[in-house]
């Protein structure tokens, strides 16, 4: 309790209250001029922490939105490219239809082949479309053109005779396959006899259709099947006999690139790749040195996914190392030993024209929300990953006649129908699911044939066909390999090349054989396009969500950070009044003394 007010005190109180008022109004001035409530963390430590948090969220959202814009650009380029490719397929289909009709002549076929080679070139260019520096159809292998004009290599499989054949000599395959698609060749003996007299028919579709006129098996035993393939018979004790069947498979072969070493490697010896690739998709194998040293001493790891993940650490590189699925790599020492982090790569390609991979390109469009924005070339333009079927006989007694059976798929997995069963009028489907179809050949409720379907990728329009072959004695029938056709099973470049060579060979039958494939291709590409569209659509939804979230967070941040001008002005006015009062008081205080009242 102060009971005595000295003059000094009056002035002291006056100056300190004046400065307090001025500090307050200065801080209000600052808030007004910056329009922010919090100008430094100390203004509101908790609020400042929240603001930092919100700001980082907003930055993240903006980044996600940038990512979405990029992915959308990519998808719209994919969409227009696919649509142009579909136009090209239509053009090729037009050529196939017109050149398989009666009006086709050698001249029109030649000129059509010219037109078609233009179509192939354009299709090629479109399939190798780039967005920036990246090829859009190459999977995650965006730095190498995913499609090449020529199929890389071909193989001819081992020739095999049916177990029921009478002929007991040897049969071998030979030649170089010049075709562009995988084909199963079959030879069926029509008239029995020794070489030079026996006649046979040849099929290039696994026994579904046969050549119209029988040809004589040459006296040399070397029978030419077409497209560079030969089948050589060596005489045994029994002659070729009617209904003996021999098959061989000609296919495009997988290839392995030569091994490459990273530029920065210390090791200066040589590396060589080898083997036969047996994998189902294109892969980049890599081998990384963990502890350096001589070949026998160094430890290493192997990756089969282009270096994303690595296997266990192993030792000894002095012998050839198997990278996986038939691919090997062999090291030969140089002057420099292997050093840690030396890297060697080998690319393995499956058969065909595709050099990309099946990887997805992923972009973040939200926290823990990774979005796949690419369509791989293998999905859209090749038969890879397409549907496949294996068939097995469960009741041989019911299968008494030779026939080719065809099933067609409707809209759903439960909507298969048998479309071709001439010799088996009573044939019905007894059960069907996503993975299995059972068929009853004589409608006695016992399933006679079981078809096992591969996972997914089945579409409306897929057909499955196989041939029941009577294997000599009536009760041991055999099934041919199952052909799956329709969308998802066609190779774009293979089909176009096949059409071109058919046109060049003036082979009307071969030209018309491509029509179905081309129609399936249209559906296949359209499906890829639909997928692109639905990806775009879901990106738009994500983007809308992000915009709303951004707005919400911005407003929450603004609530804490931004100054409310109305409030500020009112408080400022109050401070002004206080300041004025202080000034007034200061001006008055000197006047008021007892002296004024002493007269």
């Amino acid at each position: 309790m102060i009971c005595r007010v000295a003059e000094n005190m009056k002035y002291f109180v006056l100056t300190s209250s004046l400065s307090r008022v001025q500090v307050k109004s200065a801080s209000l001035m600052e808030k007004m001029s910056t329009q922010k409530n919090i100008n430094r963390p100390s203004d509101d430590p908790v609020g400042a922490g929240k603001i930092l948090n919100y700001s980082s969220k907003i930055t993240a959202i903006e980044q996600y939105q940038n990512n979405i814009t990029n992915a959308e650009t990519w998808l719209s380029l994919t969409d227009t490219t696919l649509s142009s490719i579909r136009d090209l397929i239509s053009e090729a289909l037009g050529i196939a239809v017109s050149q398989s009709g009666a009006v086709a002549s050698n001249e029109t076929m030649d000129s059509s082949a010219e037109v078609l080679s233009g179509v192939i070139d354009s299709a090629m260019a479109l399939m190798n479309t780039k967005q920036g520096d990246s090829y859009i159809f190459g999977g995650s292998r965006t730095d190498v053109a995913p499609f090449s004009l020529n199929s890389k290599a071909t193989t001819i499989g081992v020739a095999a005779g049916m177990a029921t054949n009478v002929f007991d000599g040897a049969v071998t395959s030979g030649g170089t396959y010049t075709g562009t698609q995988e084909k199963t060749y079959a030879v069926k003996i029509i008239n029995s006899g020794a070489f030079g007299t026996a006649t046979c028919k040849i099929s290039n579709d696994g026994g579904k259709t046969w050549s119209d006129t029988p040809s004589v098996v040459p006296a040399t035993g070397i029978l030419s099947l077409g497209e560079g393939i030969t089948m050589t018979f060596a005489a045994g004790t029994k002659d070729l006999t009617t209904n003996d069947v021999f098959t061989l498979k000609a296919s495009l072969a997988s290839t392995i690139s030569s091994a490459s070493a990273a530029v920065v490697n210390t090791f200066d010896g040589t590396v060589v790749s080898g083997g036969n690739y047996t994998g189902a998709e294109n892969k980049a194998y890599a081998i990384k040195i963990i502890n350096g040293g001589a070949l026998a001493a160094a430890t290493y790891q192997i990756s089969s996914d282009g270096g994303r993940t690595w296997g266990a650490t192993k030792t000894n590189l002095s012998a050839p190392v198997t990278l996986g699925e038939g691919v090997t790599i062999t090291f030969t020492a140089g002057t420099q030993n292997l050093a840690a982090n030396d890297l060697f790569t080998v690319n393995a390609y499956t058969a065909g024209y595709y050099q990309g991979n099946d990887d997805s390109l992923i972009v973040q469009v939200g926290k823990n929300n990774n979005f796949i924005y690419n369509i791989t070339g293998s999905d859209a333009f090749t038969a890879a990953n397409g549907p496949s079927v294996t068939a097995a006989i469960s009741n041989p007694a019911a299968l008494t006649v030779e026939d080719t059976i065809t099933l067609a798929r409707g809209d759903s997995a439960g909507s298969w129908a048998i479309t071709n069963h001439d010799q088996y009028p009573d044939m019905v489907i007894t059960s069907m699911s996503d993975t299995q179809i059972t068929i009853d050949a004589d409608n006695d409720t016992t399933p006679d044939i079981t078809l096992t379907l591969s996972d997914g990728k089945w579409q409306k329009g897929n057909t499955v066909s196989f041939t029941i072959m009577e294997g000599g004695t009536p009760l041991s029938p055999v099934l041919s390999s199952v052909e799956v056709e329709g969308p998802g099973t066609v190779d774009l470049l293979g089909t176009l090349n096949a059409l071109k060579s058919a046109l060049e060979a003036h082979d009307i039958k071969a030209v018309s054989a491509q029509i179905d494939d081309l129609q399936d291709l249209q559906t296949q590409v359209l499906q890829a396009q639909t997928k692109t569209g639905s990806k775009s659509a879901s990106l738009k939804i994500v983007n809308t969500g992000l915009t709303a979230l951004n707005e919400q967070i911005t407003s929450m941040k603004s609530d804490i950070e931004d100054a409310d001008l109305d409030k500020l002005i009112i408080s400022y006015q109050m401070e002004q009044i206080a300041l004025e009062a202080s000034y007034n008081l200061a001006a008055q205080i000197g006047k008021m003394t007892i002296l004024d009242y002493l007269r």
């Binding site: 005595r4 000094n8 430094r40 963390p41 922490g49 995650s140 270096g307 994303r308 972009v363 003394t593």
Partner: protein, 271 residues
């Protein structure tokens, strides 16, 4: 002291970013198909944080791809680091051989940038300074900086700072073995969270000192008011005192006048 603590926090934030980004970057491949190098120069201090000079000189050296095929996978992985938890905690230290006991602490959490793949194992040699690392738990650059009877200091990433100290008690002899692991916990925060918590802390400190200043000023004012009350001069009071004394003086002088008059009168009568 305060400043020192702030610098520590900033340095730890920077270390956290540098170590995590570098680890992720080194798991990727650059545009030429080489394994990525460091992205940030190795440094202990936030003020020296800088992008590696190799990358500045040649941006093709940025390892944005997670495979040799030039995809953008590693860049995506690096952006996800911001959502990655920062702290790793030290597990209880097991003494598998020996009778002593040990308590450990992490000095720089920014240097703990990954979980250990297996326990870090230390074995004591013949003397107290002769500890060796038996298993580095995946921290391939792990080093023992110093060791004596009471303390073993470990450097996680070979930059010369003691990132973990283990305080030893009891008797230790040859062959005694220590084991511990480092693991991330769900309850811990991200680098951004760590930094914003640190910033809020700084704000709180500043705001706290401002409040303290205000409080002290009020007390000082109160005190000086009291001092003034005792020793200060109030003009009104002094003036009134003046008047009082003036009046007294006046009265006294009036008395003097009257006495003088009396004396004059007396003298006149005497004549």
């Amino acid at each position: 002291m305060l400043r020192c603590r702030y610098i520590d926090k900033l340095n730890q934030t920077a270390s956290g970013i540098i170590n995590k980004v570098n680890t992720q970057h080194m798991a990727g491949y650059d545009q030429d198909g080489n394994i990525g190098g460091v992205f940030f120069e190795k440094t202990l201090e936030a003020k020296h944080m800088a992008v590696s000079s190799t990358i500045v000189a040649d941006t093709r050296k940025i390892a944005a791809s997670s495979t040799l095929n030039a995809d953008g996978g590693n860049a995506t992985a690096m952006t996800a680091i911001k959502d990655d938890k920062m702290y790793a905690s030290l597990s209880q230290i097991l003494v598998t051989v020996g009778t002593g006991n040990a308590v450990g602490q992490i000095n720089n959490i920014g240097q703990v940038f990954k979980d250990t793949v297996s326990d870090i194992t230390l074995v004591r040699g013949a003397t107290s300074s002769a500890w060796t690392i038996n298993n580095n738990g995946g921290y391939t650059s792990l080093k023992i900086l110093s060791a004596d009877n009471t303390c073993v200091a470990l450097d996680l990433n070979d930059n010369g700072s003691a990132d973990i100290t283990l305080n030893l008690a009891g008797n230790w002899t040859t062959g005694d073995t220590l084991k511990f692991s480092l693991s991330k916990q769900d309850s811990t925060t991200t680098i951004g969270g760590y930094y914003s918590a640190f910033m809020a802390r700084v704000g709180q400190d500043v705001a706290g000192s401002a409040t303290a200043l205000e409080r002290e000023q009020t007390i000082a004012a109160q005190n000086s008011a009291q001092r003034e009350a005792l020793s200060g001069v109030s003009l009104d009071e002094e003036m009134l005192n003046l008047i009082k004394y003036q009046m007294a003086y006046n009265a006294a002088s009036r008395v003097t006048g009257i006495v003088s008059e009396l004396m004059d009168t007396m003298i006149a009568i005497g004549e």
